[in-house]
């Protein structure tokens, strides 16, 4: 399990971007707070992307505050990956991506 050590922010409020604030939430699981102009149409899809990414990065306890400005999936994933690494205080192991690609 990847432990988050501090509050971290990534992304911007620019159109087509998403700002994510990640906080440690020890022992209390994942709690997601989503604000989005397209929450009705894409809210479920955004939540699924966030949960899937957190699972892949082995984050089990976190408060995730999302302010979405129409970001596409790959942007949400990228911003979340950045926030996780910043909150955990780690450098990302890019070699994992090569292993994932070969599976």
């Amino acid at each position: 399990m990847l432990e988050l050590k501090k509050v971290a922010v990534s992304g911007t409020l620019e159109s087509s971007d998403v700002q994510i604030v990640l906080e440690p939430n020890p022992g209390k699981g994942i709690q997601i707070d989503l604000e989005s102009d397209v929450k009705l149409q894409f809210g479920d899809s955004i939540l699924e992307t966030v949960k899937k990414t957190l699972k892949k990065m082995e984050v089990e306890d976190a408060v995730v505050r999302i302010n979405d400005k129409g970001a596409i999936d790959c942007t949400i994933v990228a911003r979340l990956q950045t926030a996780v690494c910043r909150a955990a205080g780690i450098r990302y192991d890019w070699n994992k991506e090569a292993l994932n690609a070969s599976r």
């Binding site: 992304g11 620019e14 087509s16 596409i72 994933v77 911003r79 950045t82 890019w94 991506e97 690609a101």
Partner: protein
């Protein structure tokens, strides 16, 4: 040295790794090369974010008809190592490396690329390098840089940093970069590599851009970096052969073919002898026309 392989590199447009909307929109313009940027357009505090943005964007939405490039941070920066890992995983057509000054640096970059391609299962040698020449040392070493490796596909002259290294002032006429343009171009031609000209910085001056792009073409560059989408079509048009140039090239090739059929050693057209340089220029025009997708009757593309 053999002539550079014919690719279409008329225009390059940067898309900042700090801006998702910039990257999403850049694919809709007509640039031949799209350059996803981890360097100058990304603040230091966002270098980590840019890697994730570019990696995920290219994995899910890679443009199919463009030459895909990634500009990493410089060899001596703390970002280079991770930038290269993320970049190789993206499998771009080329990686742009800024501020290259020597063949030795190219060898270091190639060695790192060899390791990463092998580690990540990428076809060895498939990712090319475009070296950005941005200093007086780089200009002086242009030929050795161009010839340092088979991976080096092109050199790109960066005027802003170059003029800073020369203590010069950047101007629209561009005399302060004239010598550098020639040095880098000659180095590329000697080694059979492509050469990309400097940017024109005033995005509101389209007439000035046309003049500068005319100089780019006259001098023999293969392309030009653009800094705004509104510059792309103007530069593409200038660097694509005109109808007049194509018609003349066809007449040259017809005359040469006729001469060969009649066993004539020397051939002329409009009172001018058609020697090897004229023929090569005609073939080059037809190759560019073909790469630009222009439809021409006859078998001129195979001559």
């Amino acid at each position: 040295m053999p002539a550079a392989k014919q690719h279409l590199f008329r225009t390059s447009l940067y898309a900042s790794g700090a801006s998702p909307v910039n990257m999403q929109q850049a694919v809709f313009y007509n640039e031949d090369c799209i350059v996803y940027d981890m360097e100058d357009s990304v603040p230091q505090s966002e270098k980590d974010a840019a890697r994730f943005m570019i990696y995920n964007m290219l994995r899910e939405h890679r443009p199919l008809e463009k030459h895909v490039q990634i500009r990493v941070n410089g060899l001596y920066t703390p970002y280079f190592a991770e930038d290269m890992q993320a970049a190789v995983l993206c499998r771009p057509d080329a990686i742009r490396v800024p501020k290259v000054e020597s063949a030795e640096e190219v060898h270091k970059i190639c060695a790192r690329l060899d390791e990463l391609e092998k580690a990540y299962g990428v076809e060895q040698g498939s990712i090319k390098i475009w070296c950005l020449i941005e200093s007086h040392i780089g200009v002086l070493n242009a030929r050795e840089i161009a010839g340092a490796s088979e991976r080096v596909e092109a050199l790109v002259l960066g005027a802003e940093d170059f003029t800073a290294s020369m203590h010069a002032t950047r101007t629209k006429p561009g005399w302060e970069v004239f010598y550098a343009r020639n040095m880098v171009l000659m180095g590329c031609r000697a080694e059979g590599k492509a050469c990309i000209d400097v940017v024109f910085s005033d995005i509101n001056d389209l007439e000035g851009l046309k003049e500068d792009a005319r100089m780019t073409k006259t001098m023999g560059f293969d392309g030009k970096t653009t800094i705004h989408p509104r510059q792309v079509d103007t530069v593409n048009a200038m660097l694509t052969p005109t109808q007049k140039e194509i018609r003349y090239a066809m007449r040259v090739l017809d005359a040469i073919r006729e001469g060969e059929k009649n066993n004539k050693g020397a051939v002329s057209l409009d009172g001018n002898m058609l020697d090897v340089p004229v023929m090569l220029r005609a073939r080059n025009v037809m190759a560019l026309a073909k790469a630009a997708g222009l439809k021409i009757e006859g078998d001129y593309y195979d001559m």
